[in-house]
């Protein structure tokens, strides 16, 4: 009997902990590398996978690099070539991190909160630590997280003639928007 109760308790606890982890497969990641010389290098990816664990503060997102949709076919082609993202060799980009001020965010109370996020961003096969703030909006059972940050592409081994010529930003802006229901 004791074993049955213990097993039941464990199953319940495991189930409860899983329930804290929220996942969306329709997060949006925007990429903006436009400069004064060129307004074309910007794209959006609407099929990113993102997760948020409201209990531990663990956050993550991942994208298929070729899912970035540009307005211009030639720029999209350049973006995926070996000179840029080399997406045949490095098909995914990922972020894994955590909210460091979890106590400040009341996931059970509607409101807008500022989250400090730190973690590792892997891009072009290179992993670098990233620290940034994110806005967390709690509205009933829906949690929307938004984070804007810039990366230095050279840190990730992304170089190229267009970057050197000033047609592509050396520190593009990345925006991640995830709605968890």
């Amino acid at each position: 009997m004791k074993k049955t109760i213990l097993l039941f308790t464990m199953v319940t606890l495991v189930g409860a902990s899983f329930a804290q982890k929220k996942i969306t497969t329709s997060a949006t990641v925007n990429f903006d590398a436009t400069t004064k010389l060129d307004a074309l290098p910007k794209a959006e990816n609407k099929t990113a996978v993102a997760s948020l664990d409201t209990k531990t503060g663990a956050v993550a997102f991942e994208v298929i690099v070729k899912s970035f949709s540009f307005g211009n076919p030639k720029i999209q082609e350049h973006f995926n070539t070996a000179g840029w993202m080399d997406s045949d060799k490095f098909p995914s980009a990922t972020f894994k991190g955590s909210i460091t001020n979890l106590a400040d965010i009341k996931f059970k109370n509607d409101g807008t909160y500022s989250a400090n996020v730190t973690g590792d961003l892997t891009l072009h096969g290179v992993t670098k630590p990233v620290t940034n703030t994110a806005t967390v909006v709690v509205n009933g059972k829906t949690i929307t997280t938004t984070s804007d940050f810039n990366i230095k592409v050279a840190d990730y081994g992304v170089t190229g003639a267009a970057i050197g010529a000033g047609k592509v930003s050396t520190d593009p802006k990345i925006s991640v928007i995830a709605e968890f229901k």
Partner: protein, 154 residues
């Protein structure tokens, strides 16, 4: 005095005209390439027409080969909608293998968002779009395949 030696030699003239034509042609080509936009997917011909579950199983079994075969090609996928996901003004449609959890997700071209919003869970649909490839998700621990610039086949 306007001697014949001041006139441009015919072969130089020809080269200059050819050069000018090439320059104008080159400028036009550059202008065309960098102002070109992706065409309406509904008007493009599909390279492959596949069943959703067959496509998922192909990616699960032969990920690398499938990526080479389908990525950046226009594909028509027929299948049953397992889920619709809305975010802000956009909508994505999913077709999921309930056994493994692997799925295909379709993001739509702006001009086809309204028709995508009419689709409901359980509907059998035909969707055409640009395959972005598939990979294993470490978050979901399953394979997923993404499509961009999709349109609903009518």
């Amino acid at each position: 005095m306007t001697g014949p030696e001041k006139r441009m030699k015919p072969w130089i003239k020809k080269i200059l005209i050819m050069g000018l034509i090439l320059l104008i042609g080159g400028c036009f080509a550059v202008w065309y390439i960098f102002t070109e936009k992706f065409s309406d997917t509904s008007k493009r011909e599909a390279a492959f027409t596949v069943n959703a579950m067959d496509l998922i199983h192909e990616f699960e079994k032969y990920d690398s080969l499938s990526n080479k075969k389908y990525t950046e090609k226009i594909i028509t996928v027929n299948g049953r909608v397992s889920e619709t996901e809305t975010a802000d003004t956009t909508i994505n449609i999913k077709m999921t293998d309930t056994t493994s959890g692997a799925y295909i997700i379709f993001a739509f071209q702006q001009q086809h968002l309204m028709e995508a919003k009419q689709i409901k869970e359980g509907d059998s649909v035909s969707i055409k779009g640009s395959c972005s490839g598939g990979t294993y998700s470490s978050i979901l621990e399953t394979e997923y395949i993404t499509f961009k610039r999709c349109a609903v086949n009518k």
